[in-house]
């Protein structure tokens, strides 16, 4: 399973603007597998992205909508993308401001389908 995770992650990190990709446990926010450029704090990305996704999921549920299938946080100097891969796993990518969002989204949704 870890080999499958790493294969998916390495595919994502080859995309322009992506500095790292990770498989994270949704409830705990802990890293399951990661492929990160040097200097990216994997533990922090995992915990914070999973927490944001959880809060967003609660909000979406309060609106009467089904579980989010994709989330994108855009900040001044970076971006964070999250896709659920099954009920317990999240696929997370972190990148710079110039990340190719459309391509990264499609790649992540495909990878999530394989992993889920």
């Amino acid at each position: 399973m870890t080999a499958l995770y790493l294969e998916s992650l390495e595919g994502l990190t080859r995309l322009r603007g992506v500095a790292g990709a990770m498989v994270v446990s949704a409830d705990d926010g802990l890293v399951v597998a990661e492929s990160l450029m040097e200097g990216i704090p994997g533990d922090a990305v995992a915990a914070l992205a999973a927490s944001l996704m959880r809060r967003m999921g609660t909000t979406v549920s309060a609106a009467g909508f089904s579980r989010p299938s994709f989330m994108h946080l855009q900040a001044a100097r970076g971006a964070l993308l999250v896709v659920p891969a099954g009920p317990d796993i999240l696929l997370i990518a972190i990148g710079d401001r110039h990340i190719n969002l459309g391509l990264a989204r499609i790649e992540m949704l495909q990878a999530a389908e394989q992993l889920g």
Partner: protein, 277 residues
């Protein structure tokens, strides 16, 4: 110092194990002497850590102080010690009401009423929560007294003012302050229920979480959060430092169009906020 406080203080000084600390702390609280009330009740709790009444009173003092998080903890302790404690149920019910969790608020107030069936305060609080639930659409069959109808009219006015002329001004645009209170706009669930206030209450937490993630990951200020789901897409932005704007559209609407609509709505929100000052 009033006579009752003087007498009780003397009693407590003569016998530090006396339970007179409870009425003394309550008397101090009622006179807004919160620091003194806090000291008295904490001293009492150090001797009687399993006294639910003392935890309830401490929760009330903390609540008066605006420290709702710790107040919640204290009332929680009181309920662990005495699951039927009406005061603690009332306190937690109030906090849930403030947080917009109306179902839980009603649940605790009902528990308080089971113990205190004649308490007018509990009955009034329950009526208030039920009115809010009706506004929320959770209880559409319930009769609509004069109060809620007036609030609905006010809400509709706000909706018209903030996003007037914009597509979906009454459903799918929501402006929220940093405390999760709705400033304008409206939102219906796919089933047609009014979920605006409930979603607004959650958005403040999302905004804080986005701010924290961006700060700790050294990504600068957050600009937008976009979410896709099978039932619709959400776009979150921050028109001003103290507000959050949510745009919701069906999933068939491309995310790029959502961003454009969000920018127009953000401009309208800023103009409206400036007009208030």
């Amino acid at each position: 110092m009033s006579e009752d406080i003087r007498v009780m203080t003397a009693q407590l000084a003569a016998d530090p194990t006396s339970l007179v600390f409870l009425p003394l702390a309550e008397a101090l609280r009622q006179r807004k002497l919160l620091d003194a009330a806090r000291k008295v009740v904490l001293a009492g709790l150090s001797r009687y850590p399993e006294l639910a009444d003392a935890h309830n009173l401490y929760g009330r003092i903390l609540g008066d102080h605006g420290d709702f998080e710790q107040a919640f903890d204290e009332w929680g302790i009181a309920l662990r010690l005495d699951p039927d404690h009406a005061g603690a149920h009332k306190g937690i019910g109030f906090l849930y009401f403030v947080a917009g969790k109306l179902d839980q608020a009603l649940e605790h107030l009902q528990a308080a009423q089971a113990t205190l069936p004649d308490d007018e305060g509990v009955a009034a609080a329950m009526a208030r929560v039920r009115e809010a639930l009706e506004l929320d659409g959770s209880d559409p069959g319930a009769p609509s007294p004069t109060g809620p109808a007036r609030v609905v009219e006010e809400t509709e006015d706000i909706t018209e003012q903030v996003f007037a002329g914009l597509e979906g001004a009454e459903n799918g645009l929501l402006l929220v302050d940093q405390h999760g209170q709705r400033l304008g706009g409206g939102l219906l669930s796919p089933a047609g229920q009014n979920v605006a206030d409930r979603v607004a209450a959650h958005l403040a937490g999302v905004s804080r979480e986005a701010t924290r993630a961006a700060r700790l990951l050294e990504m600068g200020d957050w600009e937008t959060v976009t979410v896709e789901s099978d039932d619709g897409n959400l776009h979150l932005a921050s028109p001003t430092a103290d507000t959050v704007l949510l745009v919701v559209r069906p999933s068939a609407i491309p995310l790029g169009r959502l961003a454009a609509l969000s920018e127009r709505a953000a401009s309208a929100a800023r103009a409206w906020l400036e007009s208030l000052t």
